[in-house]
Amino acid sequence: MTLSAEVTERVAPKKRRRDLARYLYIAPATLYVLMFAVVPMVRGVWLGFTDTKLTNPSGGRFIGLDNYTSLLGSEAFWNSIRTTILYTLVTVIGTLVLGTSAALALNRAFAGRALLRGLLTFPYAMPTIAAVLVFIWIYNPSSGLFNRVGRVLGIGEAGWLTDPEYGLASVLIATIWKVFPIVMLIVLAALQSVPEELREAARVDGADALSSFRGIVLPHIMPTLRIVALLMTIWSIRRFEIIYLLTGGGPVETTNTVVVSIYRRAFSDLDLSTAAALGVFGLLLSFIVTVAFFIIETRETRKEASS
């Protein structure tokens, strides 16, 4: 009895110190995010239960679930949820495929590779507004690049930003173009962990490019791809500038994602509380994706660990 007490006493201080040190590594980032993101977020979520106006952000009254029930009953809301999901799906798939293949293509050494990498990061390095302006111009029905090329090739023209048939596609093209380099960057970094000798071995064995990718490269970059996919999804759900500036949610609401309607509600209608309620639904969407991700992630990590 006395012995064990003595033992605990001697172990404890050292252990406690070490534990404390652990927290100190994570504390700065945590405090930081608490202050600049979580506090505003909590405030934002709270607003969803009030009738706050933008012109008087602190003067709202608590009105319970009214904002939510009225949203759930509106066709426009469900339309924006559908649009968000569609926009997100296509963006994620498009950027992942494009970004990964770009990274693979640029991972091998060849002359002028660095320059090409530079070129391929241009879209991401560019202010969104610049990308938007050039795409508006490219989409211009009479003098835009697309329709001019279309006319030259005889495949006709389209109202890229005016025709409800094309609106979302136009926004998606611009988005994927703007965003895919970030996938390329991250995958390029991840590719460096694929042992060179493994890939060499695969090549000598005569494995064709695809099966060498699937069998050797893909497993190595899979954890990275998963996290990139998650980030892409979450970023797509909340992407705002490029959509809003290109189409403002039109034509005929075909690009009116949840976040675009949040902005319209908050700043056009000055209705901060409905915007906040919408925001909660947006968060919910991201939340579901994240939880799904973590479930997959744990399963996969376990699989990797056991194999």
């Binding site: 100190l24 106006k53 012109t55 008087n56 029905p141 003098s143 930003l161 409800p164 403002g248 056009s268």
Partner: protein
Amino acid sequence: MNLKLHRGLAATATFCLIAGLAACADSGEDNQDTSDGKAAGTLVVANYQFLESGRGEALWNGLLQYESANSDAKLEQSASPYLQYVDKINTELGAGAGPDVFVIQEAQFATLAEAGLLATLNSAVEGSDITDLNSGLKIDGNQLGVIWEQVTYALIANKNVIEDAGITEMPTTVDELIAAALQVQERTDASGFAVRHLMSEFESWWMDYNVWPFGFDGAWSDGEELTIDSPENIAGLEAYKAVYDAGIMPLGDDASTYRTKFKENQLAFMIENNGATLSFTSGGAITGQDIESSPLPFEYPGQHQRIVLAVNANSDNKALALDFIKWFVSPEGQTAIRPGLGASTLATDVPLGADFEAANPWAQTFLDAAATSRSNLIPGFETETKPIMQVIMQAVERSITQGQDPAAALAEAQEQAPAAVG
């Protein structure tokens, strides 16, 4: 020891963060009145127009004359690009911050006034020559703003283009307009006609769009109830749709694009406001002499866009702000900003300069329109104008891009609008 060390590392980072935040938590700059009671200090003025090349400088220099009128005052610009100006002012004022003096659109004025964020200007405008038009900015007997400028709408044409097309008379009806535009497109490689039609330009589109229903004596409300699907409004949308479908418009062009086309002799007709029209006279292929103007091709008058100068109720230096407004509505102040504001109607009746008139013969049509033009705000729903207009413009969009019947589209909007009003 290593524990201490890495703990120290982490602690340092935390400390830097907190210290950084705390250090800058207190930097209040204050203005004070001079002892003789005269207003003094620095006044922050916000206006997106300051950033416009040419006009911006003229306006700012005009305002700077206040510094010579009150030697204790200093003006400072709060800059914000046009694109996000409204949102920024709303965010700032809502948080009790923001510039001392600023310009705002009439719709925004209504909401800010309702929220009590605008200071009363009664003492500043007392005894001034401000016109009756300013009485719309009086709420419950308090003057909460004065007109900065009021722009009106007219039909304008590029003389070079229409002469090439053999058109000598300005159209006076929608049908004539379509015919003339088609004639232009047949005989030249220019487009016939352009107006806004893109949802990405909603913030301006809805204000521009009102010429169509107003031209048929339409109104979005009778002062009590919304009347979105009234026959007049339907007629207005039908006319707009007819023009849209007539193949005379460069569809997909945003305003910036078709306006530049106009400047480059690639567009014949526009329904425009005088502010935009003035901007065509510089930096392009045409001068003021190349622009023809005529009243809107409708039976009834159009609307105006009113830009209001107001004072922040939370300003640290209201006395100075009021002194500034007092100067602004004086003949001295009004003359100072006239050159920058072209053919707009101002808070007082200040004549256009003779030089300006000679260079811009198109201007008078716009000034004449001011006598009968109507407000863009929806009577009885002033502060909810924008959400309602959002619903309406969505209906308009459905009608033109998906061919929905105008009556049905507006009926749908009439149904949806109450929800938007909340």
